[in-house]
């Protein structure tokens, strides 16, 4: 009741200079982005990490999987600013003589790809099930909701572990081939995350479908399929975007955790979690860099994505305005 009316706006003060930046500023989202340095920094870090890791084969100084290029003589070298460190390996080397910087770049690549793939999988599955459940209601909705409730009461990591364990048993103990291992991992993470999307979408659909614009579409005669995808879906994407961002961070953490526990990516293509696991063995002997640098990379990545997710949530939450 306290909200002031726009009619009273002082027009002189509200007049803005032309120009692209100024025009973009009129959008609340862009304005808020430009006025929060932390968010801009987070976006920059995310961008740099995504680009550099995807371009790892081009950017990285060494190919850590090329046996010919690594020498055991160079193993366990510290980073450059410690005695014995060398500029050839700015962040030092691991126990097999691989360059830490290169392994981190390659490792982030795997972490990011697995993260994106599992979020995309969970999102598509969750959105479709949420839309169907929310729009049709009835027993289908009751059924899906019940499944979602049960699954939601188990933490994602446990579900992922179980799916992984089941897949392992099904494939006879060892998941040999890389592609299968990645498939299982993405499936495991994705299946443990879909519920969030489904619940949110279902809830939003429940709100939206009682709004009069949906009834107007029904009165026009549009079939349910068109109503759901043309009218309802665009209006429930806001919260989905927020969840997707936050879950990207969660998915990267989950992958790292699974890999750390030794049930994630195959050892032949180590992710950040695998690197930390390997480094963990050298923690007590003083070679801390093998653990700490991949850890820092992981935290930077996840923190940046989380910052973006937090900001998106605040921006898209009309109640906070």
């Amino acid at each position: 009741m306290n909200a002031p009316d726009e009619a009273g706006i002082d027009n002189e003060a509200a007049r803005r200079p032309a120009g692209l930046l100024a025009r973009l500023d009129e959008h609340d989202m862009f304005w808020s982005f430009r006025h929060s340095p932390l968010v801009m920094l987070a976006a920059l870090v995310t961008l740099v990490m995504v680009v550099s890791s995807l371009g790892a084969p081009v950017i990285a100084p060494y190919n850590p999987f090329d046996m010919a290029s690594i020498s055991l003589l160079d193993s366990l070298l510290p980073p450059v600013w410690i005695d014995e460190g060398t500029w050839s390996y700015p962040l030092g080397t691991d126990n097999q003589g691989r360059d830490m910087l290169s392994t981190i770049l390659y490792g982030s690549r795997i972490s990011i790809l697995v993260g994106f793939a599992s979020v995309a999988f969970a999102m598509v599955l969750g959105i479709v099930l949420g839309l169907v459940a929310g729009y049709t209601g009835g027993w289908l909705d009751a059924f899906l909701t019940r499944i979602a409730d049960i699954q939601l009461s188990f933490p994602a990591i446990l579900i992922a572990l179980l799916i992984d364990g089941v897949a392992r048993a099904a494939f006879g103990g060892e998941i040999g081939e890389d592609r299968t291992a990645f498939g299982v991992l993405i499936l495991a993470i994705g299946l443990s995350f879909w519920v969030q999307y489904a619940r949110t979408v279902r809830g939003s659909v429940f709100v939206e479908k009682h709004k009069e614009y949906v009834q107007a579409a029904q009165v026009i005669g549009l079939p349910p399929f068109l109503i759901v995808f043309r009218h309802i879906l665009p209006n429930v994407m806001g919260p989905v975007l927020v969840i997707a961002t936050i879950q990207l961070a969660l998915a990267i953490i989950t992958e790292a955790t699974l890999s750390f526990l030794g049930v994630g990516v195959p050892p032949t293509s180590p992710s950040l979690g695998t690197l930390i696991r390997i480094g963990n063995d050298f923690l007590f002997s003083g070679e801390w860099w093998i653990t700490v640098f991949p850890g820092v990379a992981l935290v930077l990545l996840v923190l940046s994505v989380n910052l973006l997710g937090d900001w998106l949530r605040d921006i898209l939450n009309p109640k906070l305005k």
């Binding site: 933490p155 992984d164 048993a169 526990l261 850890g295």
Partner: protein, 322 residues
Amino acid sequence: MIWFVTKRFVQAILVLVVVALIAFAMFRYLGDPVNMMVGIETSIEQRDKLREQLGLNDSVVVQFGRFLERAARFEFGISYQHRKAVSALIAQRLPATLELSLVSVILALAVGIPMGVYTALRRDGLLARIFMTVSLIGVSLPTFLIGILLILFFGVILQWLPTFGRGEVVNIGGWTTGLLTPSGLQALILPAITLAIFQMTLVVRLIRAEMLEVLRTDYIKFCRARGLRTRSIHFRHALKNTLVPVITIVGLQLGTVIAFAIITETVFQWPGMGLLFIQAVTTVDIPIMAAYLMLIATFFVIINLIVDMLYFAVDPRLRVQS
């Protein structure tokens, strides 16, 4: 009230049966149980005899019924890996996990709730902003990394605290506790903090969001318009209303902690169920996986039941019909 409880109870039983079905399917159809139990040198006749003994030749329904009946007594057969009864293995490990989880939850709530309330009430204060930043870092740190960093700092560099195991334990009627010995308490510190940090940050953010929502409601505005004291508005009206939805989440947290203990136990080599489970996953020790699944499900169901009762007690809208 009785109707409500019965309904919830029936639902709980249903959930358990569904989970049991999954566990049974895992046990029965993932690999051949007989081949898992015996060595290469076992003859075909011996295998068939074992198969008959285990009842694997009966119909599926009978087998599932037997599985359910044995699960109710918490019998899950012999571990493939350890060659011991699963129930004994779990019973031996259960106290370690429960102690760790309970201490972590108490820690997470005791620190998280006041922090959450504070950040909601002083939304723009400096300290509140610092809390929020810390909590964001908290959710961005994977549990295992927190553990590793704590080990590196307090264990390796400062050498203040033990970094693995439970320390000395006291056995009280089959329940081993580390809470009564100095070394047991010391050993608990790092794992408990590790496990609590992630939960704590979640609690802070949740309480803050819920409370901000409540502070915006008309009835809080009406409280202010009636000139009630700020303390009373914040704690008697706003906090109470905040806690209603929070109860559910906290209940779920308790369950989550037990599962997250898997990671913490791995990092700190804590001899609990989680460590047992993760070893079972890597070695495909299905009886242990099935038992763990059933146990966790039982915990969740019980916690959910308690949460529902609490809800009932706190919210008059459920208790008193209009």
